[in-house]
Symmetry: C2
DNA sequence: GAGTGGTCTAGACCACAGG
DNA sequence: CTGTGGTCTAGACCACTCT
């Protein structure tokens, strides 16, 4: 056995620790696109872990689109075009960072509301049950790019104020730390739509202009629905995503 | 060791074999949403495989959004709302099946073209290099729902005819079997846009109507770009996707 | 404390790619 | 033929959840 590791004295699993080392090397641009990595056996020896642990690190990075491997050929650095296209739940700020922009928001309204029949069905609560609604404009480099209309299922008595949200960098972080909001997975439904009068006013466009419409249901680690969010984005907004291998393996 | 298995005498890896058994049970509706599966140790014993093989099967299904697991709690059936939202490359026919609809197409044009500067850059070829362009209308239950304008990098001398495409159920299948086209991954870029005159005519809508615009670059197993496709869908079309856990693990 | 998933090891053999 | 990734095993211990 080795001494866990050097600087990252946290109890990080060894495969994630290894993945971080390799991932950092790649993100620093020290390895070219499609360049081969050392073989799994060599990595195992070099970092004093079992080959199976190396394989876990490799799979971990493959899932994230950082590297890919071919049977009998080797493991390689994924080209830049696919790196960083893996989506996460709080993807807006994420996306902004990837583009070198600054994500922002202007909260229009935060209020407790009673669940409508439509939303109650989606969130698995009874119509009339209390929800927290947060309506906001999303900004990118201080320019409005979209609208978010979110409805949260929060524990009774959870009180969120406008100033809290504005102080917090991330709404999700605030809800997670204060109210045990624990998003684990989300389902999104994208389509195109035309701007309504109100959308047009808020986004400073014309009524009828095209918008990217995204409906999202967020699920907890127990797969209970905890948020419904209706998002509308300007046509200049880009939603990047990565698609895995074919259905037949 | 056991006798591999009963009917599926193929040399399917044991973890996929196990995943198929469990997956079939779930898709047949024999297990309720969020119902707990037997523990990994029990599955290992029952199916006479090592626990590690069970874990591989579990991870395999987790990636596909079929099940999920919680540390110290157990493994559970993913709710129907998330099952089947994992996207694959040839997703159009896939989507159609999931909705109980029939995917179709009407090929407008298939012709060799010289790469424009814009497309050459994306496909990593030189401007003027030969590409195969396939322009078609996508149908769902015989109604037009979108336009696909695809540019393929194929081996020199590859000849594809209109009748071949119309006979083949899937264009991807045709290209894969005939010309070694081997898609492994794709990057998609979604946005909203307004219908041009030509789009409106083909889709039978008004100029300026909102469209869901999807640009895709498909990569081979060696991560070389092999297809660029510009897709435009009616606002009634839904693009469903699933998002994994947060960025912090 | 009992039971669960999560990590890790040290071997083994198979399947594929490339000279 | 050699080297690579892919599969599989039989243990071990840790970390978490629930009662």
């Amino acid at each position: 056995m080795m001494k866990i590791d050097d600087t990252t004295a946290l109890t990080l699993p060894r495969y994630k620790w290894l993945a971080n080392i390799i991932g950092t090397t790649i993100s620093q641009g020290l390895l070219a696109d499609n360049q081969a990595l050392p073989s799994e056996r060599e990595l195992a020896e070099r970092y004093e872990v079992s080959r199976d642990t190396v394989r876990k690190a490799v799979r971990y990075m493959e899932e994230r689109g950082i590297i890919y491997s071919g049977h009998g050929r080797g493991t390689f650095v994924a080209p830049a075009i696919v790196r960083g296209t893996t989506r996460f739940i709080d993807s807006f700020s994420q996306d902004a960072n990837n583009r070198g922009s600054v994500a922002g928001q202007r909260v229009l309204n935060v209020e407790p509301v009673a669940a409508s029949m439509a939303i109650a069905g989606l969130l698995n609560v009874r119509p009339g049950d209390p929800l927290l609604r947060i309506h906001r404009i999303r900004l990118m480099d201080n320019a409005a790019v979209g609208l978010h209309d979110a409805y949260f299922v929060l524990p009774p008595g959870a009180k969120v104020t406008l100033s809290q949200i504005e102080r917090a960098g991330s709404l999700y972080k605030l809800l997670t730390e204060k109210f045990g909001f624990a998003p684990a997975e989300a389902v999104e439904n994208l389509s195109a739509g035309a701007a309504e009068q109100e959308d047009a006013r808020l986004l400073n466009i014309q009524k009828g202009d095209p918008l990217l419409i995204c409906e999202r249901i967020t699920l907890s680690d127990r797969r209970e629905p905890i948020e419904y969010c209706l998002m509308k984005y300007l046509s200049s907004y880009r939603y990047k995503t990565r698609i895995a291998k074919r259905s037949g393996d």
